[in-house]
């Protein structure tokens, strides 16, 4: 069928049959449906311009323009459906792919992204983001955590403790995300849990983005005296974003319990079995 979707008892995710990109998420328990588009983009790292000679580097994130480029407008997709898991494998480019996964009983959508080695043969440093775009009316607000504990309200182009003269429309709105970032309107909340600290923001209403990888060609003049370039071919990185769709009233329960499982994940140990008893008796 043309319908490209994965589903379990709690969540349904639908993909555009032509582009293979995620276009909608549904919380079946709460009858919540949210059109949400997710894709990968890259900022072109600044090498200095007429406003400022500041280069994007290890200490400084500074894209050379506000709009990022899409890694790809479509993905080659493959579908896996078994009694225990349903997956959509998306291949955006030679250096960017993702598996969108739903295990049986899972109440969140798992996006396992694999990014790199970032090509820099064109002479441009690149800063890769995963971005979720929705129709939520978020009024310039978004929320990020501090080490998995206190969640802080962030307002675009604003600081609570001083009158901000915003000179960097993108970087000036990026904040540290240790375990989660979320956006919401009066009824619905979209939360993205991270498996490591990342930079994140919401640069337009209804949108949320997380930076997953960077590869830069110039030093930013802050003391490292080395570009964030990685030796050889460069690194490829794999990680996961867990996406939760909830009513605002119940969202905290969902993301707090899930984030604990993510940060204190089980440890797997294998053995061939047939060991000798530990106690003589």
């Amino acid at each position: 069928s043309r319908d490209l979707a994965i589903q379990n008892e709690h969540i349904r995710a639908r993909f555009d049959p032509d582009t293979g990109l995620l276009v909608e998420m549904e919380n079946l328990d709460q009858n919540l449906v949210l059109p949400v588009r997710q894709a990968f983009y890259w900022y072109n790292a600044s090498t200095g311009n007429n406003q400022s000679a500041q280069v994007s580097g290890a200490y400084i994130f500074r894209p050379n323009q506000q709009e990022p480029w899409m890694v790809s407008h479509w993905a080659q997709t493959r579908v896996v459906k078994t009694p225990l898991v349903q997956e959509i494998h998306q291949n955006f480019s030679a250096w960017c792919s993702q598996v969108v996964r739903l295990y049986r009983g899972q109440r969140h959508l798992e996006l396992e992204w694999t990014v790199g080695p970032i090509p820099v043969g064109d002479g441009w440093g690149k800063e890769i983001i995963s971005r979720f775009d929705t129709a939520l009316e978020t009024k310039g607000l978004f929320y990020t955590d501090s080490n998995g504990r206190e969640v802080l309200e962030r307002r675009r182009d604003y600081r609570p403790t001083w009158k901000l003269n915003q000179t960097e429309a993108v970087a000036g709105n990026y904040y540290p995300v240790n375990s989660r970032i979320y956006i919401r309107d009066s009824n619905t909340q979209l939360t993205v849990l991270t498996d490591r600290s990342q930079g994140g923001s919401s640069l337009r209403d209804g949108s949320v983005e997380l930076m997953v990888h960077r590869r830069l060609l110039k030093d930013d003049g802050r003391g490292v005296a080395e570009a964030l370039l990685e030796d050889g071919l460069g690194r490829w990185v794999r990680g996961r974003h867990l996406v939760l769709l909830d009513k605002v009233q119940t969202a905290a329960t969902g993301h707090r319990l899930e984030a604990e499982k993510e940060v204190l994940a089980p440890q797997v140990v294998l053995s061939s079995g047939g060991g000798v008893p530990y106690h003589v008796k």
Binding site: P17, V80, T82, L229, E260
Partner: protein
């Protein structure tokens, strides 16, 4: 004997902002990774000793550090093996175990010897395959599952179905 002091030491060194935020030269970042890996080795011994004492059996415990890229020599070659899963949370947890395996059918049994549902999924990028099964883990405790190749059972591996997007 195991020892967690080297990992503690490495974590102490990595409180430096260069380690936390990646603002170091490449060779320093590589050395941070080396210290963490070196610190992890004696922790595996510590964990093995604890598991041996708690499970009552001295096993040759194996840690697969590259599960995120579907590499684990033991689960990819052994006909039978045990999977010990430790849950550090103070509450019971259900968790989907995912392990790279060879091309066979498998039977998975829980600590009571009851067969649990399992699937084998083929990975599109590498044509490797992974065994999936749901594990139930006690709070601050561990469960031991047994995996054995099902003789004669053709792997009913679920192969990803390519979707031909509209020609662009």
């Amino acid at each position: 004997s195991g020892d967690s002091a080297p990992l503690n030491e490495a974590m102490a060194v990595l409180q430096h902002h260069d380690a936390v935020s990646g603002t170091s030269k490449q060779h320093v970042a590589d050395d941070y990774a080396r210290q963490l890996a070196a610190g992890w080795d004696p922790c595996e011994v510590l964990l093995s000793n604890a598991l041996a004492r708690l499970s009552g059996f001295k096993e040759n415990f194996t840690y697969c550090r590259n599960l995120n890229i579907s590499v684990c020599p033991l689960s990819q070659t052994a006909k039978n093996f045990q999977v010990i899963i430790y849950n550090p949370l103070g509450r019971k947890m259900d968790w989907m175990v995912r392990l790279p395996v060879s091309e066979h059918g498998f039977v998975v049994r829980d600590p009571n010897g009851t067969v649990v549902p399992s699937d084998v999924v083929i990975l599109p990028s590498s044509d490797g395959q992974e065994l999936l099964f749901p594990a139930s883990l006690p709070a601050l405790g561990f469960s031991i599952y047994s995996v054995s190749q099902a003789p004669g059972q053709r792997p009913h591996a679920h192969k990803p179905q390519p979707r031909s997007p509209r020609t662009w």
